[in-house]
């Protein structure tokens, strides 16, 4: 089980969270103007990165808030967590132990 550092509550066991998929995917402002291809990419295309992945988590059994994380999908190690609306840290620092 992962230990996840909620930016609001601190480190908690994975069981308190749900995974929210890839982060920073913006919903097209006006879906009616999207081509089928653009809409399909928004809905279905995912980077599925082997390496450092920006993803959403939600602390459902805690503060209830969404936040973002950088996690290395080759080790499952969290490099950083940050609040919604913030950009991913450029230099991922190691999560404090």
């Amino acid at each position: 089980m992962l230990l996840i550092n909620c930016p609001y509550c601190g480190e908690r066991p994975e069981l308190e969270f749900v995974h929210g998929g890839q982060a920073h995917i913006a919903r097209p402002g006006n879906p009616a103007e999207c081509s089928d291809q653009q809409w399909a990419e928004y809905l279905y295309r995912r980077d599925n990165i082997k390496g450092v992945h920006a993803e959403r988590w939600r602390h459902v059994h805690g503060c209830g808030r969404f936040f973002n994380a950088l996690r290395d999908t080759t080790s499952d190690q969290f490099l950083a967590t940050y609040k919604v609306g913030e950009q991913p840290p450029a230099q991922p620092r190691k999560a404090t132990a």
Binding site: L2, E14, H19, D36, L43, R45, R46, N48, K50, T74
Partner: protein, 416 residues
Amino acid sequence: MQRFSGLSLIRRGLTGQRGWQPQWRQAEPKAAYDAIIVGGGGHGLGAAFYLAKEHGLTRVAVLEKGWIGGGNTGRNTTIIRSNYLFDESAALYDHSVQLWESLSQVLNYNVMFSQRGVMMLAHTVHDVQVSQRHVHANRANGVDNEWLTPEEARARCPLLKIDDIRYPVLGAAFQRRGGTARHDAVAWGFARAADALGVDIIENCEVLGIERDAGGAACAVNTTRGVIRAPKIGVSAAGHSSVIMRMAGVDLPIESYPLQALVSEPVKSIFPCVVMSNTIHAYISQSDKGEMVIGAGTDAYTSYTQRGGLHISRHALEAICELFPTLRRLRMLRCWGGIVDVTPDRSPIIAKTPVPGLYVNCGWGTGGFKATPGAAHLLAWTIAHDAPHPINAPFTIERFRDGNLIDEAAAAAVAH
């Protein structure tokens, strides 16, 4: 190829098991082939076999970054069934079950395909309705499936506890033609038969890049063992499909998740069929060695680590202990994970890609072992004809753009 028969087994048995030959060559990569398959799992090895056997392409190489069968082929719980809801899926998975039925003879290799039946439990009114809808849809498609009362289910699998549990068993769908097969034997049987037809099986050969010619067509792969050219490249790399297809600039609607399984210490034969429960998420069968083979769920997050969280397998064990109290005292021997490639509609992709000469077979997620011969056969067809077979024609990448999903996820079929 040294053929196996009852007589050859007896003769070698009496002469100290001497004189067996390696089952396939240790091939060195050549500079060029007619076709390259990336990924030496059952699907990739099978595709090479069918390319050689049915389409006359014998200058074929299978490139595997590790050892053949070391991916999900060697990590799965080997459940085989074809009772999927939609017409497209029923045709696809039953094509595979039909190939399984003669595979040991075709390969001259015992893949230990055992049609012991697959029982899928219903625990809620909703389950009952969905399962019965599956039974009817399957029968309309010529796929066997039947409804069992709780008592009939228990009569078939006496260890099953049907009442006095948190989610009593209200009935079950039962596909008699379903069952299990021996995972390693499938990889080895295809490898041996493909090798005999001239296919080069090249292990420890990781594909690092896909090269495209001036016209944009795929023409070569860059590997840890050098550049290898071929006008046709088929990718069958399960959990790594996104990574490899991106080398050619093709994005896939796929995410890769860890999926776990575990086995108990071996015991005498006590479990006559496969039992699966979607609602309380557990599935179980007994291997021919006597181990109880138990499948757990996927982790919540994408990963390439080939291991999952302990709470996931614990959850599956809790369900097993509830349904089969007799098994509570068994010890678990091993647990492991594989990385499964999941599509949004939980149906696979077997198709041409936007890159000429590049073909893909992926998205089998948590349930592609059952499809091994079928997927292999259809990928080979698609590569050889540069066009899909009618059975895999609906399973394109573009279906997500065009809204033609084959939504087995929403159809609530069990994952595996």
